[in-house]
Symmetry: C2
Subunit: 656 residues, 2 copies
Amino acid sequence: GLANRGAPRWRILQRDWSIRVSVLHRVTPPDSGYAAMSPKITGELLRQLRQAMRNCKYFSEPIQAYIVPSGDAHQSEYIAPCDCRREFICGFNGSAGTAIVTEQHAAMWTDGRYFLQASQQMDNNWTLMKMGLKETPSQEDWLISILPENSKVGVDPWIIAADQWKNMSKALTGAGHSLVAVQDNLIDAVWMERPERPSTQLRALGLDYTGMTWQDKITVLRAKMTERKITWFVATALDEIAWLFNLRGADIEYNPVFFAYAIVGMNTIRLFVDLKRLYDPALRNHLQLDSPSKPELSIHTFPYESVYTELQAICAALSPKDKVWICDKASCALTQVIPKAHRTPIPYTPLCLAKAVKNATEIQGMKMAHIKDAVALCELFAWLEKEIPKGTVTEISAADKAEELRSQQRDFVGLSFPTISSVGPNGAIIHYRPLPETNRTLSMNEVYLIDSGAQYVDGTTDVTRTVHFGTPSAFEKECFTYVLKGHIAVSAAVFPNGTKGHLLDSFARAALWDSGLDYLHGTGHGVGCFLNVHEGPCGISYKTFADEPLEAGMIVSDEPGYYEDGSFGIRIENVVLVIPTKPKYNYRNRGSLTFEPLTLVPIQVKMMNTELLTQKERDWVNEYHRKCREVVGAELERQGRKDALEWLIRETQPIV
Amino acid sequence: GLANRGAPRWRILQRDWSIRVSVLHRVTPPDSGYAAMSPKITGELLRQLRQAMRNCKYFSEPIQAYIVPSGDAHQSEYIAPCDCRREFICGFNGSAGTAIVTEQHAAMWTDGRYFLQASQQMDNNWTLMKMGLKETPSQEDWLISILPENSKVGVDPWIIAADQWKNMSKALTGAGHSLVAVQDNLIDAVWMERPERPSTQLRALGLDYTGMTWQDKITVLRAKMTERKITWFVATALDEIAWLFNLRGADIEYNPVFFAYAIVGMNTIRLFVDLKRLYDPALRNHLQLDSPSKPELSIHTFPYESVYTELQAICAALSPKDKVWICDKASCALTQVIPKAHRTPIPYTPLCLAKAVKNATEIQGMKMAHIKDAVALCELFAWLEKEIPKGTVTEISAADKAEELRSQQRDFVGLSFPTISSVGPNGAIIHYRPLPETNRTLSMNEVYLIDSGAQYVDGTTDVTRTVHFGTPSAFEKECFTYVLKGHIAVSAAVFPNGTKGHLLDSFARAALWDSGLDYLHGTGHGVGCFLNVHEGPCGISYKTFADEPLEAGMIVSDEPGYYEDGSFGIRIENVVLVIPTKPKYNYRNRGSLTFEPLTLVPIQVKMMNTELLTQKERDWVNEYHRKCREVVGAELERQGRKDALEWLIRETQPIV
């Protein structure tokens, strides 16, 4: 469906690759069973859940508390409707939150972004636990304070990560309780009409899109395993599995992935997926299911659910020196199947890193996708200029128009995330998404911020532009110019090979800081190629995490911003490619890197106070606009989009 | 004694607050028992050590391996001669290295800086384990590969940190061995003529130097403890204890500290120190030992060695809810006295943070110290200009002259670290210290780098200047100018309250990166006030660590550099004070910070390619030089140092 209307169902974990990862929230569509902000009636549901907790059918003894985390079994950022269990039990549909139900209590922990929303969506059966406030106990402390001695706390081991399990278990054990794995999910047990797990049609991508056969990807993976003396690799992240097999699905909105697991050994490949999806002869051929070229490249397929027993069987046959790689964010259930002596947890997998470094074909595809995306946006802005004076364009209709224009481009699949289309004060709400009740009309008097992107078969886009259709104020221009200076400082940065992305974050802020301004989100996230718009292991953020150094072929976003509460929001986002560069010297032969913008949409000159720009910055703007005009102009011409071409030419006049 | 001659004995742990922490090595004085680079004969020593390992007098059973780490019982960066146990047993006197002796083997692990030196200083009894090479086993793996089943590996629990113990113990236990604490140090048992632990005279600092009584510091500490529900605090770092009690010693060269422990409860204060040191009535009065003002501010003194039994006694009387704070880098011995349920390890203590934020009196003292230090350096440079043409000044004599000039200043105590005085190619060796065999003559043809500092009763200094006494090459000037741009970028940076130092590191490198250059050390370290020249918890480095945000009153160094192997080294270092600043706006009322240089020594204009500087940078240089001239000029005039004043005035002419 169209973004902002109908059925968008997604959510976000705490990975925080980007501004959106941490700030957006899934909004229940207005046509769902209850109004967005009225509480869900949960008395009967809780009664049933507590009955299940006492029922020895699910666990050998009654359990005194049951934890319902947010998340699915694959560490997904966005989740499918069937995995929205925490929302189902308490009514709160924000992206972050954990519910815990005991015999007497039901409590839900969430952070400051959601205090109001959660308090409106949950009924009196629930206590809202406001994380970040001093008086709010942690989940562990709260459980310990209310549980009777020697209690059992249950959780579905498939949706709790191994490290979270460890921490919770330690705290509970220390207080005389125990954390127990309840294999059947108790929410599912009481969830009548729970949606089915999606099983959409799979799409095989040829070499012209992927640049590398899945067979070669397996060979490279095995070489990495050999290098580290690893005998088995368990893949649980959906985008990694999609990338590895050059397959795409549509199981989760905005993410072209499909529910699956994979286990790769040195001579065997096991793929766990709804087997019905593999009936298609073309797919069978792609995967060489019926006539593998070599025995070690033969894929053995198993039902999705059998990953547990298969992994058990593999682990039962391990030799003493065998080591199994699994991501440390994988589910507790799968992780614990692997005996500790054989388990080698890693912060991100070799697939995650290999996927991040795009090959020449993927880079070419990403460039093509961004040109098509720019065509759609040039059309949009030209259209907005004409329509806005009529007073008929709203945040929602502008977003719809953007989607419509994108859908006209070749190989369009869908949006890569729900469009943020925001006018004036709505732009200052970083996690804003227009709803019918907040929908504002675009005008000549307010700043308009649109952050949007699409999935094309050849690549994924993500672009933010901030524009004014009338006359921006001096302060708006000043802030925009600082944000632009930060954007350029990152985009034009030259840095040695081996530099981690977090070392570039302050470049994006220096101009804002100089004037006492800042923005409270990271500067960039990795972008997949016809895959998730947010991917690891790299990013540009003040928060340091286990990120790998940037290397040529990686693709990240560059999106500094400034948000003036109650007034306007500014963000300038390009997707940029890490490329080698040759400055004057080459210290210790390390080589240098810089960025090449893939996004080619003009940055509004009207919003700039060009006096605040240095000559270098002005040169950057002019060269960027020259390239937009040349590359996107040619495509607009080819597509016969005259209005947009005219707009592009006007918007890319050099500045002095 | 003078730096670079005689008895400097210091060493460095891996803390890496600064360039020097990671790169310097202690050099055996030429007048010691063996030439710096001839191996120590260790056969007999090893025989005695192995005998001790078998002797059940030291441990209830024979031990099969004995680990000798570098370090003392206080996590000190520099150590006293009596603590140089690893050097004693193997001969290698670099700053980093761990020796392990078994019945059959003796091996010593060190890193790439020391491969050559270690191979020259150790005899055939020792195997050099080159850390960082793929084929080199870890200490754990090596032990496991050679030990007979069920072996005991001994270590002195006082000189191994709690976390290191934990890792080693886990690895050994996993392989069927055990790590055991041998309370008597076995090196000491075979070390005839081991130097005594120093017990130098203590110096009490009055309010005019400290700005805060020790009583008030205790009160503030207790408030922090109350806030975190902590009942006891164990202080083990020597600079924290010196700071807390407003006392200084001279037990470790360059560091005005003294061997002691302290345990602070809510109503009691215990100080563990060689009691002879407290006979002085003035000291007794300072500490109010004989007539405490309030019972809870009465200090109970104990012998240094009794900290273990006293802490045991305290822990035996703990109530169930009592919590004890101890730094997670404290010794295993003391840490393990505290039962796990009561132990609250912290990455840095409240004293470490409190000490880092200087009060008005300390800031005033630091400013005074830096003015005196600048007087000495202006004199030095004026003198060098006259003497160098004669060809009689060497790296060592220049360093000696610097020390002599500093020693003429009021309240001079000693150097704050051994002077790095380096000419031409020696300047490119980051961890260089001039030795008679490397001593180079200063000339008109080579770049001279001097990194030096002193302890004054009112403050600690640390300054690096790079100068040319003839005509620098275009490349030398170009590199110097990039380093200067980096220095200015940090020094003039404006950043929000709450910013961590590591977020500023890239500012120091951007100009170098733009030209493909870089330097392989951090940008800055915390500086104590008449305390250690390197202190935590803050710094400016590309390596992220558990650093606290910068706040007004903190003092750090700003020292980017560039090193052209075999040719020259450049570093520009000022000590800078974090101060509040008020830019145009104040986003979310967070407030902004910037730096004020405390170091006031001209930066040589001759080395600058001013065309590469922006107008802002030229303004910064001119304003800095104006301040040097005004402030240091007045003091030079007061001291009647005409040559230096003339030099200062010439060197601070504005640039255009």
